[in-house]
Symmetry: C2
Subunit: 214 residues, 2 copies
Amino acid sequence: MSKLKLNITMSIDGFVAGPDQSLENPLGIGGEELHAWLIPLRAFRESHGQEGGEVNASTPFAEDILGDAGATIMGRNMFGGGPGPWDESWKGWWGDNPPYHNPVFVLTHHEREPLEMEGGTTFYFVTDGIESALGQAREAAGDRDISIAGGAQAIQQYLAAGLIDELEISISPLLLGGGERLLDNLGDAEIGLEQAGVVEGVGVTHIRYGVVKD
Amino acid sequence: MSKLKLNITMSIDGFVAGPDQSLENPLGIGGEELHAWLIPLRAFRESHGQEGGEVNASTPFAEDILGDAGATIMGRNMFGGGPGPWDESWKGWWGDNPPYHNPVFVLTHHEREPLEMEGGTTFYFVTDGIESALGQAREAAGDRDISIAGGAQAIQQYLAAGLIDELEISISPLLLGGGERLLDNLGDAEIGLEQAGVVEGVGVTHIRYGVVKD
């Protein structure tokens, strides 16, 4: 069965976005710097339709984030457009050709027709919960794995429910001091992790964890 | 001039002690597991007067924590004995021969005579603030570096004041879910970090950061 994987960048003080997120600053103050390791890479540039770029020790992690999944799951806040019923002119943060290139299942309380973008990305809006979204993503992914893209709240729900199989956390040398904390609000869930690998990147540390299943 | 270094183990969700710290559970629930990487090492066993033990990629970090400093700084909570005026029968958590083997400066609001232990550890109780403690530690350390041992509150004060030069953070694959958070309460301090090295240990990731000085 395909795995549900988290690939995300976190500051060393635990945030995946800085304080005061806004339309102009979707990652909050200082949050853009989280991905300073990712932006120069060829893998990132290619997935955004650009040429050139670097290949280094971080490349496999960038590829895991960007290209390897057969389907993606994300929360409503990550897709954006504000809370409440949809303004259908909002088509995500990423322009006409989003960097997912696979079916993306967006968790929401508000129904919306699927939204087909260029480059293989179609957004499906799922209103009946995280297990339903995972089931639909699994069906869409076939033999490939499923990526949970964010935000923190969606990740926390899947993690607390024991549904995530692997975590790849890239740690940036940043103290954001506030914002959206990744590994929080897990309630009484007892989640066992096994360190599965560590890679030193340029200005970033990548750690792979497996979730121990009973 | 000697450097002030932090060497500490943190869970991947950011805690240096678990919830519900007590006399029986000084590191809180689950907190003992933070140091699962450290306990089997020869460097740890030697500093606690025991023989045998392992030598592996984590050994230099264990030695940095345990043996290399010319002086140590710690907060009152880490020294223990409860808040308020001293019960002088309390001599720390570590028995007659504490693992520091150098002068240890304890931040407190309550005066107390220096406490000389076996093995080269003497506890000095400093009531006039973090800069005074650092000055005294610097004088005691001579050419050697100074280690800030904890707890989180003392570390945060030194970090926010721009007085820490290097951080060695060992990240354990644990989700403690609560307790004493390390990198928190830094206020508006803008602290720039540079990743200086990463080592994959057995069930632990060691990251070295330098603090960028303006």
